[in-house]
């Protein structure tokens, strides 16, 4: 029995143990050999990825139903681990250049990934909270990692304070759900509702607060205020990881909790989700136009993308649409994560040692100076916009289809319109790169190049043969 318990969480547990060991091992690695730490971290992530892939096809619950293992969790975990690997690949050269190559970085990344993986498997609200703290706390430290630079410290503190605030919402929501149903288990909530012992208004209030708490993590409007400052202040490699990882984990938890525990609240929650999605897309895209700093622009763009994913979630309560909504969201998360790492990788490459080189104007002339990098950036911008031949387009089409089929045509229209708006600021980057004169300087090591190249290649190639991906995400069912 106990072995089975651990089997459901094996990759997470191994990763945690690896991170702890790495923390100690790093103490004995001299400052100029931090490549060892990075290599060991990547090895740990790869090991966990292998273990996760070995879990394909297995299902089950563990620790008295506190965690669950299903195809959804396996896919989300693999995505998280790949994100972790890409983040480590981006980080090493970047950290060295910024002179912040402290070994704790990798342990913290590993701890954070482990927390995110626990989040995707959480089948109990208490585990959701635990996992949220587990992946957030390392992220707070990572955001402030460029200490003693004031920007980074500000980012860390801001993220910490607002994160703690949002965790308060989450735990309060959990308390209300517990008050309404006398259980924190997701399956138990459904049972309590079915047997009629639950108090629905209280449950709705609890679900609303949980939505607020997780909304903070995925940066949905109006809980997005921290995002631009934190994304801008944090070291770029951290931002890349944060933008992809925290979103995947946050949405995974949102999907699991809402689809599994609160389908009965569909009527009450759908308008709220509708409004949130519309607001997020609208505000994220509009404010992004006004940004001249590339990190802030990408931060607002990440808010906007959270809106697109929320759009799919609006249909969560519809039993016919449920699985499609989850698949579409996962597909989009995958596309977003890949593009995201590439785009932030380019930003990291152009960032100067003193933290400059982040204005849009600094990208002028990149097309002539380093055509490959500019081409990659163009691909990422096109993918963010949703222009063929990129993965972003397929993801968006999938999302819109689900939204329309679920009957939210108005929302889909808003999505399309805001996508058109977003073309302006994404393509502006391309225009600046190719049509203006300038002397930008890109510096990156081999791993960094590999990450960008890989992201660019996958973004294009996967969009040419999306069928495999479709079958992958539609197989990623939530079991309950």
């Amino acid at each position: 029995m106990a072995q089975l318990d651990f089997y459901t969480l094996l990759p997470t547990v191994v990763l945690m143990a690896w991170a702890s060991g790495l923390l100690i091992a790093d103490l004995f690695i001299p400052r100029d050999r931090k490549a060892w730490t990075a290599g060991l971290a990547a090895l740990g992530l790869a090991l966990a990825l292998g273990l996760t892939l070995a879990q394909i096809g297995r299902t089950g619950t563990g620790f008295a139903g506190m965690v669950t293992l299903d195809p959804f969790a396996v896919l989300a975990n693999s995505l998280l681990l790949v994100s972790g690997l890409l983040a480590v690949g981006l980080s090493f050269g970047y950290l060295r250049r910024r002179d912040i190559d402290r070994g704790e970085y990798y342990s913290l990344t590993l701890f954070s990934v482990a927390g995110m993986m626990l989040m995707t498997q959480a089948a109990d609200l208490i585990v959701v909270f635990l996992a949220l703290e587990m992946f957030s706390l390392p992220l707070y430290v990572l955001a402030a990692f460029a200490r003693p630079q004031p920007d980074s410290e500000e980012a860390g503190l801001k993220y910490f304070l607002l994160g703690a605030f949002s965790a308060g919402f989450l735990i309060y929501g959990i308390a209300l759900v517990y008050g309404a149903t006398q259980t924190t288990a997701l399956a138990g909530v459904v049972t309590a509702v079915a047997t009629g012992t639950a108090s629905l208004p209280l449950l709705a209030a609890g679900a609303g607060l949980i939505l607020v708490g997780l909304g903070f993590k995925v940066a949905a409007v109006p809980f997005h205020m921290w995002t631009p400052d934190v994304y801008q202040g944090a070291p770029t490699s951290v931002t890349a990881f944060m933008a992809a990882g925290a979103k995947i984990a946050g949405f995974a938890a949102l999907m699991r909790v809402f689809v599994q525990a609160f389908p009965v609240l569909g009527e009450k929650l759908t308008p709220i989700l509708w409004t949130l999605a519309a607001l997020t897309m609208f505000l994220g895209n509009l404010v992004a136009i006004a940004q001249s700093n590339i990190k802030r622009m990408l931060a607002y763009s990440s808010i906007a993308h959270a809106g697109y994913i929320l759009m799919a979630l609006t249909a969560y309560a519809n039993p016919q649409m449920r699985q499609m909504a989850v698949s579409a969201a996962l597909f989009y998360l995958l596309a977003y994560a890949l593009t995201n790492f590439g785009a932030w990788g380019v930003v990291a490459a152009l960032e100067k040692q003193n933290g400059g080189g982040l204005e849009l104007n600094d990208y002028a002339g990149l097309g002539r100076k380093s055509p490959a990098l500019a081409a990659a950036m163009t691909i990422f911008m096109l993918s963010f916009t949703g222009v063929p031949p990129t993965l972003g387009l397929i993801g968006k089409i999938y999302l819109f289809r689900v939204t329309v089929e679920a009957g939210f045509i108005g929302l889909a229209v808003i999505g399309v319109l805001t996508s058109l708006v977003s073309a302006y600021y994404y393509l502006r980057v391309v225009v600046v790169m190719y049509m203006r004169e300038g002397e930008p300087e890109a510096s990156m090591d081999g791993w960094h190049k590999a990450v960008i190249a890989l992201s660019a290649a996958l973004t294009v190639l996967l969009s040419l043969a999306p069928a495999a991906l479709f079958s992958l995400v539609s197989g990623a069912t939530l079991l309950f």
Binding site: S20, G21, L23, I24, L27
Partner: protein, 117 residues
């Protein structure tokens, strides 16, 4: 439950006694406060600046570490009471728990959190 009432009785008497002792001094002691007498004592020098200043951050670090390890110790207490029933399982579980804490301990040590100066 009765034991706690007994302790409450002792506590009350202790509070009354302590207050009584303080008031004894207040009643019988002379009071001729002058500005010089009321100055903070600094070996006869005129004090410079506030008495309560910013404290070294070391103390804060020690306090944080204390919280971590004190919780560990508190966790030990119920374990110790039931240890004879838990047997080998209890020993191994506690060993794993301590192992995790030791990671933090070794880290703090190597990073110099336990050094003064």
């Amino acid at each position: 439950m009765l034991e706690y009432i007994a302790i409450a009785v002792l506590f009350l008497i202790a509070v009354v006694l302590a207050a009584l002792i303080v008031f004894l001094g207040e009643i019988f002691g002379p009071r001729h406060s002058t500005p010089r007498k009321a100055m903070p004592y600094e070996s006869g020098m005129r004090p410079v600046g506030e008495g309560r200043r910013r404290m070294p951050v070391r103390f804060y670090l020690i306090a944080v570490l204390f919280i971590l390890f004190d919780i560990e110790v508190i966790f030990f207490l119920p374990w110790a009471v039931t240890f004879r029933k838990l047997g080998l399982f209890g020993l191994v579980e506690m060993f794993i728990f301590i192992l995790i804490l030791l990671v933090g301990y070794v880290y703090a040590w190597k990073k110099g959190a336990l050094e003064w100066e």
